[in-house]
Symmetry: C2
Subunit: 243 residues, 2 copies
């Protein structure tokens, strides 16, 4: 495995969206005097995500910023759960909860290790540039660059998003590593010519979730970001010429 | 002065392009057995830059990555200075010298101070995303985000570049600060609705250069990036809602 740059999925792979979103829902709900199974509401919100992405990729929905998609899905989920008492400012606050999630315990230290290597690191998320900049700053996640599907006016797993990352970083796709805990993200990255690393995040959907199998054909399976950093040490040359 | 984010010019404002490019020219020239006034060649290369940008903005040239512009200008400058003995790989190396410049002495420490405030920081340069990612990593310049005119398929001082930065960072233009040592950059940023901070870099063009006057109407004049960071302390809210 010899790569010049590594791009990282963020929601799930580097950050614990479920705890952060659950906490935000519970805080907003408490203040409004509402009761609900808040982790279940968080899960329901997130579960609407993939179908919406696939409707976009099928050409059924125009592109719009992730904050707006989050808002549309939130409105549906609150209606489903009898939580329509939450008003405009509370909904805005909940959409912004995705801008300030906690990192997994190994994520910040692993990125610091990678920062000392020649391998360039960047986010590659469906979250927008502003969201990712706030999130990584507050979570202490030191990336060398912030890349977002927003810059391709698209969403992962559109192959254009992965190719855009390689072009913007000026690396060949085969020298760019996509790091994620989601098999579909890695499969799409491999389809676009990238190398792939899988990191399991068994707690992404909470302690009772079904285990996820690593995707077939992945180039590397790492225990966490620290392990990934150790295994990438010695690779990469910051000044690799682009042919 | 209350802002949520600050974007920084890079060539001249944060890094000493003249020393880095002169050193690269001298190293490549020495190996080829060539002699020249290398600082003068560096200055001639850089002086071709603004006229090319203005030809682009006037619609006379199509957009192309800064590396390609650097290469075209280099070919002309080498011809002018009788240095056509430099071949393809040397020219490639020289274009890449713009990817690894040294920072001014205050730049890294000033950015670290700003990193501890809620103010988001980003590059806003005509250098490409890959160039800026390599340059900032190697120079130890810790930005929260890498923004480039490349993302607007344009160049500063096109007002679209400044507006794009505000949109991507999800801040209102009047809460975004452009930091530069070049009056024309700041004047264009102000014209796009941004706030402006001027940092003098009297050594940008070497020890014998004429002093540059601060632009009229600038919002803030700082001695260096450390001074800027101290004066921005206490401003900004990472989670400022976007209206």
């Amino acid at each position: 495995m010899d790569v010049d740059a590594a791009v990282f999925d963020v929601f799930g792979t580097m950050t614990d969206w479920r705890s952060g979103v659950t906490d935000a829902l519970a805080a907003v709900g408490d203040r409004a005097g509402l009761q609900a199974d808040w982790p279940a509401v968080a899960d329901a919100w997130r579960r609407r995500y993939r179908p919406v992405l696939h409707r976009f990729l099928a050409g059924e929905l125009p592109w719009r910023p992730l904050d707006e998609l989050h808002r549309l899905m939130l409105d549906e989920v609150l209606a489903e759960h009898g939580l329509t008492a939450l008003g405009e400012s509370e909904r805005h606050r909940l959409v912004r909860a995705w801008h300030r999630l906690s990192p997994w315990p190994d994520a910040a230290a692993g990125l610091e290790l990678l920062h000392e290597t020649p391998v360039l690191t960047a986010t590659l998320s469906n979250g927008g540039v502003g969201l990712l900049t706030r999130l990584t700053k507050q979570a202490g996640l030191r990336f060398d660059c912030i890349l977002s599907a927003e810059l391709a006016t698209s969403y992962k797993p559109d192959p254009q998003v992965y190719r855009m990352a390689a072009e913007l970083l000026q690396v060949e796709p085969r020298r760019l590593l996509m790091v994620a805990c989601h098999p579909d993200d890695l499969e799409a990255a491999a389809g676009a010519g990238l190398r792939t690393a899988y990191i399991p995040r068994p707690l992404e959907w909470g302690p009772d979730a079904e285990p996820v199998d690593p995707p077939a054909g992945v180039d590397l399976i790492a225990g966490d970001v620290m392990d990934l950093a150790r295994r990438l040490a010695g690779t990469g040359t910051v000044n690799t010429p682009v042919s």
